[in-house]
């Protein structure tokens, strides 16, 4: 089986490590202590990072009576999926789920397309006033008018309480444009030049050459963009004050977490709860856990894919220009 580049790099790193560390060392007692401590601290911290997710998960699938008594701490007991099924009946939750999904997909797609195109355009030296317009864009990363002027502006534009408030302001993302620009500059210029010689327009060059070649960086920004959209919460809080049907999932979760933790509160808030749910004695605690789990699952699902990209992303980010 062919090894991936990552594995090869790992092997190489290991060899170098052995050369530099292993050979010369007689294991001294101090080293043993250091190693043990080192492993211990990292193990503990890693557990602290993942255990809460596990705890959350086992509490949502275990027998609700045991959960309420606080008996599910390490091992799930009486596994069932009723909690998840019953969430389907809470209408404002599924609504929020749809809003979050929609904004994540649409917002990310538009952002990536725009970043790719603008990143390509700003590499074109022959553009009228290129330097000025590029700076015009980049400066906005370091300077903003502040929360309240921003809010008033959105209000003035009539975007408050509309779905587009989630999408349109995020289309142009200066940082991502820098990443794409840097990447495109590393593509050999001959490719473009030869196409231009054959009479290809800028659009054709972009579609046929630049876009396919810059897929790795586009994937990187797509992942970061999608996570950002999925996680964003304050824009829903500030801009959708009188449009509860446009709340994002994060915002709903926030509301539920702050609620007086019982079923009646859930019913008052407009979510329709069916009889069967009440019978199954879904307590406030379990609801909160289940909603949290639903919100976190998409992130955990895409995380393994993300991992491939974010190291690349963060390194490219270090090279600015």
């Amino acid at each position: 089986m062919a090894k991936t580049a990552q594995e090869k790099a790992d092997l190489k790193a290991e060899r170098i490590y052995e050369r530099t560390h292993k050979k010369r060392y007689r294991t001294r007692p101090g080293d043993v202590v250091f190693n043990v401590l080192n492993y211990l601290v990292f193990t503990l911290f890693t557990i602290a990072c993942i255990f809460p997710f596990y705890y959350l998960f086992i509490n949502t699938i275990s027998d609700n009576d045991l959960v309420i008594k606080g008996l599910i701490n390490f091992v799930p007991k009486g596994i069932h999926l009723d909690n998840y099924k019953s969430l389907l009946n809470v209408s404002d939750l599924s609504n929020a789920f749809i809003v979050s999904i929609a904004r994540t997909f649409l917002g990310t797609a538009l952002m990536v397309a725009a970043s790719g195109f603008v990143g390509y355009l700003v590499t074109k030296q022959e553009m009228w006033g290129r330097k000025f317009w590029y700076r015009f864009l980049i400066i906005t990363m370091y300077f903003n008018a502040g929360l309240i002027p921003w809010f008033l502006n959105m209000q003035m534009l009539g975007l408050t309480n509309t779905f587009w408030a989630y999408i349109v302001p995020g289309i142009v993302a200066p940082y991502n444009i820098i990443l794409v620009k840097t990447y495109i500059e590393s593509i050999p210029a001959e490719l473009e030049e030869s196409a231009e010689m054959d009479g290809a327009t800028y659009m054709t060059v972009f579609r046929k050459i630049i876009w396919p070649l810059s897929k790795p960086i586009l994937a990187t920004i797509a992942i970061f963009g999608a996570v950002g959209h999925w996680n964003s919460f304050t824009d829903s809080l500030i801009l959708m004050q009188s449009a509860p049907n446009l709340y994002t999932l994060q915002h709903r979760l926030y509301i539920y977490l702050n609620q007086a933790s019982n079923l009646s509160a859930l019913m008052e808030s407009g979510g329709q709860v069916s009889e069967s749910v009440i019978k199954s004695a879904l307590s406030g605690k379990v609801i909160k856990y289940t909603i949290s789990m639903v919100t976190v699952i998409p992130i955990l699902v895409v995380y393994p894919f993300m991992q491939r990209y974010f190291e690349k992303g963060i390194m490219l980010g270090a090279v600015k220009g």
Binding site: N73, V172, P174, N231, L257, S292
Partner: protein
């Protein structure tokens, strides 16, 4: 032959600047509700722009259902208003397109002029239509219910349309007969610029236009009011910030929290570096990747979810309580999220939990970039493990560290509000309220717009100044800028 411009051509070129500016203005009018010429009644939504009036009939007649039924106003005058607004919008959009086309060759310019003239005439017709609709509505029996109102924006739009018309007529006269130019063409530089322009427009609207909101700092504004010279108060809110004892107390408290929590972050900003260094001392690659993978997860969940995690671990019936109660250490569960003690430390700890694995990645990458020969040489010279860490790895990471440190100094006032908002409760409000959260609570929650605008303004200016200072320091020390 064509190289030398005739006098005519140069005049024409210059005249295009005011023409394009006029067109730009009319496009701006399209989106600014305060200048909506179609808002002919006080009942209509204050936040409706001309663009909205032109595309959505339902928002135009919103609130008039009763008036139609009772016959106070005729629905036909609203249909006229809607049609006129739509014509006006289309005229302005056509103008914008022709303004773009005017960057092309003479043949394109001619076409552009023609379109401009036609669309200006259309705009005039639209304005006349709006005027007729207004005069129909003004004759209503119930002026109190309908509140007929002659829109200020009417004259702005009319003046701009007339100016555009005059200028484009002048252009038609000035433009020389085309020398049989066969095709519509445009120079490459302008073509590229036009492709870029929509994005510039987005940035201008969402990042630069908010600066226009800074004017609220100088008015006595309440939500729903309009700005006029009557409520202009000059620097009252600026002095209020320093003179009103209640506000001063709030601000001092808020700044204390902000600086304390940012300060904690800055003081411990070496931790991710240490994390990376100690992680790279671990021999097993598998274990290293394992740690790296799982400590990065918290970075990708939102603060709301972090709060959900905190809730499931530390609340009254959470993990910790149930363990301690079941083992008999505690008599009953305690909610550790409540309470006012050590708020700064707790917030710092959550920040660390969420961010340390992620922040370490950049250092891990930097460590792999350090020349391995240095380690080999040091080993040959008999350097021990810690000596190598201290004398090779740490100096190799210091440049990265410095950049990040300077950035965090520049961001000392902006610690974001998500984290503090979700962790805030009745008991810890005083110690958790940072500047961003304060602005949110006061501005959005209590509607104190002018004061919070002042705070936003000052914060923006201070942040930019700090950024420049940090950049200057970086240039001085390392000869490299960080922005």
């Amino acid at each position: 032959m064509n190289e030398i411009k005739t006098k005519r051509e140069s005049i024409s070129d210059k005249l295009y600047y005011p023409l394009r500016i006029a067109i730009l203005l009319s496009v701006l009018f399209l989106f600014i509700p305060a200048l909506n010429p179609a808002r002919i009644s006080g009942v209509m939504n204050r936040n409706m722009s001309l663009f909205t009036s032109g595309i959505s009939y339902s928002s135009l007649i919103d609130g008039f259902g009763r008036a139609f039924r009772k016959g106070w106003v005729m629905e036909s005058s609203f249909q006229l208003l809607y049609g006129s607004s739509m014509v006006l919008c289309l005229g302005i959009i056509a103008n914008a397109l022709s303004g773009c086309a005017s960057l092309g060759n003479i043949k394109m310019k001619k076409l552009s002029n023609l379109i401009t003239v036609i669309s200006c005439v259309a705009q005039m017709l639209g304005l006349v239509g709006i005027y007729i609709a207004y005069s129909q509505i003004a004759q209503t029996e119930k002026p109190k219910k309908i509140e007929p109102l002659f829109p200020d924006g009417f004259w702005f739009v009319a003046v701009v349309a007339i100016v555009t018309l005059v200028l484009s007529l002048a252009q038609i006269i000035l433009l020389s007969k085309s020398q049989k130019e066969e095709k519509f063409e445009m120079q490459t530089k302008f073509k590229l610029f036009l492709m870029y322009m929509p994005f510039i427009a987005l940035v201008a609207v969402f990042s630069y236009l908010p600066l226009w909101g800074w004017r609220y700092a100088f008015f006595n504004y309440k939500v729903g009011d309009s700005l006029s010279m009557d409520n202009f108060v000059g620097f009252k809110w600026f002095t209020e910030l320093f003179n009103n004892p209640a506000t001063v107390r709030d601000i001092v408290n808020v700044l204390k929290n902000t600086l304390a929590m940012s300060g904690l972050g800055i003081l411990t900003s070496w931790i991710p570096m240490a994390f990376a260094i100690f992680l790279s001392e671990i021999k097993s690659i598998r274990f290293r990747r394992f740690v790296q993978t799982f400590t990065t997860v918290p970075n990708f969940i939102s603060w709301v979810l972090v709060y959900a995690i905190a809730f499931c671990i530390f609340s009254t019936d959470g993990f910790l309580s149930s363990i301690l109660v079941n083992t008999g250490v505690w008599e009953q569960g305690q909610n550790l999220l409540m309470g006012n003690e050590h708020t700064w430390l707790k917030m710092w700890a959550w920040g660390m939990w969420k961010g340390v694995g992620w922040s370490a990645i950049i250092y891990i990458a930097a460590i792999s970039g350090i020349d391995q020969q240095l380690y080999e040489a040091a080993t040959v010279d008999g350097a021990g493990r810690f000596q190598k860490m201290w004398h090779i790895t740490v100096p190799g990471l210091i440049p990265t560290f410095c950049v990040l440190l300077l950035m965090s100094v520049a961001n000392i006032l902006s610690n974001g509000m998500d984290q503090y908002l979700v962790f805030k409760n009745a008991t810890n409000a005083d110690t958790i309220r940072v500047l961003d959260l304060y602005v949110y609570e006061l501005g959005i929650g209590k509607g104190s717009i002018p004061l919070t605008t002042v705070v936003s303004m000052l914060k923006s200016i201070i942040s930019v100044t700090l950024l420049f200072l940090a950049n200057g320091v970086s240039k001085l020390i390392r000869g490299e800028s960080i922005v």
